[in-house]
Every structure is written in structure tokens, then in C-alpha cells.
């Protein structure tokens, strides 16, 4: 049943934590709306935050496809993110050392500067790297991938920092265009839009200018990326393919004994997750318009793990929720600067994340929104007219109506 055709039924179908999350989200949105209307929160900055939230959601989707689905421990989220970011930056940026050197090569030279080529390069490099690191480690026990990925993250970061001929080293890459540069209509959309002045609350006008429309385009881009990734993952998770991954997570030998080529399945899961992380990096490049070696710091990996564990391992919407929470904490604490505090608020951010994760582990170790119902290919259930919900949920007494 869909939430649109039967809103009341959909509401009563929610489990307690789902209702709780819904309530908090609505309250949070109202709070943001008030902040926007009163001018306390600039509309362009708000859209930048939405873009950032989408980026973290992508990172958590990617990690969830590896850890949540299959139980693969990947500590190189930042590396795959960085490869996506640098891949697209080095192709598109005006200050890219590679582009400068190859500009005169026929055909090849003309590919530089095109964001879609940057996207493809970022994904291809991430794909190759994921396969290369997967070949030796995925045949072994889970801990070997964990160790290898820890090393990989550092190797990628150090290469980016030290290979100046390729990456500009610590100076980073500047002069990155927006993702829609060179596209018809969309490339000139922000400039073409008129500046608007809205005054909804008297005395605090809101200005919508070029930067706002630019940010709006970015939000649309990340919605397309994250929405696409979400739909793909949701379908995959409920499929026989996802079922094999979940079997591997609990008992790999069982899957092997039943005729599943677990090495191949683990590789697919690892590559899929890594590609989604690289996609987050590609988006970040065109959001931030600058990338530097600092973007590959392990903190990004840490944030993605917190988001997935917080949201509920194995749950796509849990990953989405976790990603949003991370951005809220990360960016929300900036506003503490305006409040007089006896201590410097910046380090509070990590402390707050630590407290949140400890609280979740103590009171809800399965995460806020764990997968809550049977994951059987939907059409198979509908075809048979069988109830599409178990007598008792897998983890809760009620199954969610919407997803997973």
C-alpha cells in the first residue's frame, strides 16, 4: 500500500522507531523552514548543506552495500571518495597538471574539461582499484580486506599528496567548473535566472541570486545521483542477488555449499559500493569546486561508518538517515560559534558524534532503522497473493510499509 493512497494506514503501519524518526524529521524540517524564512539561514547555504547531506548519503549507501549487505569491512571509503573527486577534478579543472600536458594531443586533449568525462574517469579508476584490491583479499577471511583497505586509504592519500606532476600535491586542484558546464540550458541557467527578493516574514527579506540557482542545480544533481543509487540498491537488496550477499554475511560456507560463487558475489558487492563512493566524490568536486589532499583524510571513512551503524547496517534508508544526521551534527555545530560557550565549540563535534554512537550502541545496537521486513522479490509475493508482511517482523513486531 502506498503512503499516497492510504496516508492513515501508512502512518499506523509505522513501527515505533519509524514514527519517532518521522516525528523528529518533521520537527527538524519545520525548524529549518523557520530559520530560512527569518533569514537566519541563507537559502544558498541551506542548499549547499542539502548537497552535502546527499553526498554523505551516497557514501553511506556505498558502505552499506559492502558492510551492510555482505559484511565486507572497508576502511578505505575516503580513498574511493578521493578517487572520484580527483578523477573528475583532474579532467575538468583549469589548473589540472594532466590537462595542461595533454591539451595538444589530438582527440585525447579535447576530452579534458568535460564533466561527464570526469565522471567516467572517476568511476573507471575506482572500479579498477576496487577489483585490484579485491582480487587478493576477497578469497580470504573478512579481516584481510579490512587491513588491506586501511593500507590502501593511506597509499592513495600519500600518492595524491606527493605526486605533484599528477595532482598538484598539497596545493590541491582549483578552477573546477560546475557539473553542468557545457550543457545546453543548464550551463547558463544560474545566470539567466532573475535575482528574486522575497519577504515572507516582514523585515527579513530573502534574496535568491545566481549562487542560489547554482546551488539548486547541485541539489538536483545529488538528488539524481543519490536517488538513482537508492533505487538500484533497493532493488538489489530485495533480490535473490541480495539474498546471497546476506547469506554470505551470516555464513559464507553455507552459501558456498549451496553452489554460490561467493568470491564473485563479494567482488560485485565491493565494486558496487566503491563505485557509489566514487560517485559521491565526483559530486563533491563540482559542489566544492576545489579538492585537496585533506579531502582524503580518514575522517570521511569514520563518518561513513558512523552513518551506517547509526542508521542500521543493511538498511538503505538507515544509511540515508545516518548520512543526514552526520551532516546535521557536522554543520550544525558551526552555529555554536554564535553562542557564547566556555570552550571552543569545534572539537565538540567529534565529541557529540561519539556520544551519539555510544548511546545508539547501548540502547539500540541494531541501529535506528534496521531492515524490518522480509526481503523477497516483491513481484513474487504479489503474484501469489500471499501476505506481503510476515506474521511478526524480522526485528520489530510490525513491518514497515514503505521499504525494506
Amino acid at each position: 500500500m502506498s503512503a499516497l493512497s492510504d496516508p492513515k494506514g501508512a502512518l499506523s503501519d509505522l513501527t515505533r522507531p519509524e514514527g519517532w524518526v518521522l516525528g523528529v524529521s518533521v520537527a527538524f524540517l519545520l525548524f529549518l523552514l523557520v530559520a530560512l524564512l527569518t533569514g537566519a539561514l541563507g537559502p544558498s547555504y541551506f542548499l549547499f548543506l542539502v548537497g552535502l547531506a546527499g553526498m554523505y548519503a551516497l557514501l553511506s549507501f556505498g558502505l552499506n552495500a559492502q558492510w551492510g549487505f555482505t559484511g565486507l569491512i572497508n576502511f578505505s571509503v575516503a580513498a574511493f571518495f578521493g578517487i572520484g573527486a580527483y578523477g573528475s577534478a583532474l579532467i575538468t579543472a583549469s589548473s589540472s597538471p594532466v590537462a595542461e600536458r595533454l591539451a595538444d594531443v589530438p582527440v585525447l586533449g579535447s576530452l579534458f574539461g568535460l564533466p561527464l568525462v570526469g565522471l567516467a574517469v572517476g568511476l573507471v579508476v575506482a572500479f579498477v582499484l576496487a577489483v585490484l584490491i579485491g582480487i587478493p583479499t576477497l578469497r580470504l577471511r573478512a579481516d584481510y580486506l579490512a587491513i588491506a583497505s586501511l593500507g590502501l586509504a593511506e597509499v592513495v592519500r600519500l600518492i595524491v599528496l606527493n605526486e605533484r606532476w599528477l595532482t598538484n600535491g598539497s596545493a590541491g586542484v582549483r578552477g573546477i567548473p560546475g557539473f553542468f558546464q557545457g550543457w545546453p540550458v543548464l550551463s547558463t541557467f544560474p545566470e539567466a535566472m532573475p535575482g528574486l527578493r522575497l519577504e515572507i516574514v516582514p523585515g527579513s527579506p530573502i534574496f535568491l541570486e545566481t549562487s542560489f540557482w547554482q546551488a539548486l542545480l547541485n541539489v538536483l544533481l545529488v538528488l539524481a545521483f543519490a536517488g538513482g543509487a537508492y533505487l538500484v540498491l533497493r532493488r538489489a537488496h530485495r533480490s535473490p542477488w541480495g539474498r546471497v550477499l546476506r547469506t554470505i554475511r551470516s555464513d559464507e560456507d553455507l552459501a558456498r555449499a549451496l553452489g554460490k560463487n561467493t568470491y564473485s558475489f563479494k567482488m560485485q558487492s565491493f565494486v558496487l559500493g566503491s563505485l557509489i563512493m566514487a560517485l559521491a566524490g565526483v559530486f563533491y568536486t563540482h559542489l566544492n569546486l576545489y579538492v585537496g589532499p585533506g579531502d582524503l583524510d580518514p575522517i570521511t571513512t569514520f563518518y561513513a561508518w558512523v552513518a551506517v551503524i547509526l542508521g542500521g547496517s543493511g538498511s538503505n534508508r538507515g544509511a540515508l538517515f545516518g548520512g543526514i544526521v552526520i551532516v546535521t551534527i557536522r554543520e550544525g555545530t558551526r552555529f555554536l560559534n554564535d553562542v557564547a560557550l566556555p570552550i571552543n565549540p569545534a572539537p565538540l563535534r567529534l565529541l557529540l558524534i561519539g556520544v551519539v554512537i555510544v548511546a545508539v550502541m547501548r540502547y539500540r545496537p541494531q541501529g535506528i532503522l534496521p531492515p524490518q521486513r522480509e526481503l523477497i522479490w516483491p513481484n513474487a509475493i504479489d503474484d501469489r497473493g500471499a501476505p506481503n508482511r510476515p506474521d511478526s517482523g524480522v526485528r520489530e513486531q510490525k513491518g514497515g510499509g514503505g521499504d525494506e
Binding site: A236, P240, L258, G259, N379
Partner: protein, 262 residues
């Protein structure tokens, strides 16, 4: 062809001169035997005789140091477990781990081999084929659960059912893989007598329907009642094989179990 006994046999599983050592200890020591189609063959032997090692060698979880394993006439020696399964040999485990976050029905659906929906690309390029096979598999899973008289468990979380029920589910799931020969590793270990009886009935029923079994079991009463022939393993090699009565009265078997001869 003078050995009439060998000439008429055409084993579905043939183990020939199989060897495996762990750091100088010969866990499997030139083991040779065959499993005839349509039988329930028992594999017994004292603790440490190498029964589980033999299972792991046959099913591809260990690579043998020497010798061959044939399933249906095909040489599967040194193959990956999934490749061995593709030849029709399915195995269960002594202590099945429960599949977290799955219902019994979902856990069952892992069983069928070569599902179209197990290809990532198919999910997007031919969802129709996935629909079809998943519906058929679901119907088949529910039918088998009914035959096993555990259909009431279908939508229970797999983590909530008892160890004995899990063994039944495991057997039921293995049937979804349509095995020609099914290896059961201690099917009734730690299972209460009522469920053990149920398991025995089911194994017998499936055998009558054409599935060949090779089972390891420590419960002598269970294995003597169910299996024929019985292969006795001691210190990695086949001590003897025969009918339950022959094995029961064989002095060497008694000696092996009592720890004599050392």
C-alpha cells in the same frame, strides 16, 4: 571384470585413494569407497577418524593431497565448493549458523541453484525472468516446508527457531538445490528425540523419491536403523563397509571404537 561386485556398481559418488595430511598427521589416509545411487550410506567411526575431513574433501572445502573424487562420473577433485555443488553434490553442516535478519522462508530461498535473480544485471535487464523464477521458487519452498510439516515457521525469523527445527529447515533447503547426492553432517546431533524421528522419516521419504544420502552420525541407533550400507572410517582410512549387521558384528569396528589396537 572378474570382480562381479565392482562390475555392477555405478556409484554416484566415488572416492578413490583420497589423502590429506595436516602437518604430518594423515587425517585422510588413502580412503576409497563409493556411494551407490538410491542408497542411504552411513559414514561412522570414532572421534578423530577423519569423517569431517573427508566431507570437506569431497565437497571442495579442502583440497586433497592426492586421490580423486568423482560425482556422477565427473572428476571434481580440487574444485571449488560451488563447482562441486553444480555437479549435484550438496552438503549440510554440523552446526548451521542462523541467517540473521531472514525469515525461514527467505533462508529457504537461498537453496535453489542458478537463480536468474542471482545475476546483478538480470535484475535490471530481465526482471520478468526474475519474477518468474522467484515465484516458482517461493511456491516450491512453501510446498517443501509443508511436506516437512514446518510451514508454520515460514515467516518466523530464522534466528528464533530451535536448533532441531533449524536442522529440518536445512534439510528442506538442501532439497531446493535438487541434489543428486546429499551429504549430511550429523543431522541429529543435539536434536530432541521427537524431531530426530521426524528427520529420520523425512530422510527416508526423500530417499524413496530418489535422493542419495551420505551421512555422518554418532547416534548409532539412528544410523543403524536408517543407513545401508555403512562405511566405517578409522584413522583416516576405510576400515570396512557392509550392512548394519555386518558392521555391528565386525571385531575390528568394535576394537576401533574401544580405542584398541593402539
Amino acid at each position: 571384470m572378474s570382480e562381479g561386485a565392482l562390475a555392477k556398481t555405478n556409484p554416484v559418488l566415488r572416492v578413490d585413494d583420497l589423502q590429506k595430511s595436516f602437518g604430518g598427521l594423515a587425517a585422510t589416509d588413502h580412503a576409497t569407497f563409493g556411494v551407490e545411487p538410491g542408497t542411504i550410506t552411513g559414514l561412522i567411526g570414532p572421534n578423530g577418524a577423519g569423517k569431517s575431513t573427508l566431507f570437506n574433501l569431497i565437497s571442495g572445502f579442502y583440497e586433497p593431497d592426492g586421490g580423486t573424487v568423482e560425482v556422477n562420473g565427473a572428476d571434481v577433485t580440487g574444485m571449488e565448493p560451488y563447482e562441486v555443488a553444480d555437479h549435484g553434490l550438496i552438503r549440510t553442516f554440523q552446526t548451521p549458523r542462523k541467517l540473521e535478519g531472514m525469515t525461514v522462508r527467505e533462508a529457504m530461498l537461498v537453496g535453489p541453484r542458478k537463480q536468474p535473480g542471482e545475476s546483478f544485471l538480470n535484475l535490471f535487464t530481465s526482471p520478468g525472468a526474475v519474477d518468474e523464477s522467484e515465484s516458482a521458487n517461493l511456491a516450491e519452498a512453501e510446498r517443501i516446508l509443508e511436506e516437512f510439516e514446518i510451514d508454520h515457521l515460514a515467516t518466523q525469523p530464522a534466528t528464533d527457531i530451535s536448533g532441531g527445527q533449524m536442522k529440518l529447515v536445512e534439510l528442506a533447503r538442501a532439497m531446493l538445490a535438487e541434489p543428486e547426492v546429499l551429504l549430511l553432517d550429523e543431522p541429529v546431533a543435539g536434536v530432541n528425540p521427537t524431531l530426530a524421528k521426524k528427520l529420520k522419516t523425512q530422510i527416508r521419504r526423500l530417499n524413496e523419491q530418489g535422493t542419495t544420502f551420505l551421512l555422518i552420525e554418532h547416534d548409532m541407533e539412528f544410523v543403524m536403523d536408517l543407513a545401508d550400507p555403512i562405511v566405517v572410517l578409522d584413522q583416516g582410512h576405510v576400515l570396512t563397509e557392509g550392512t548394519p549387521d555386518e558392521v555391528r558384528n565386525d571385531e575390528r569396528v568394535i576394537e576401533a571404537y574401544l580405542g584398541g589396537g593402539a
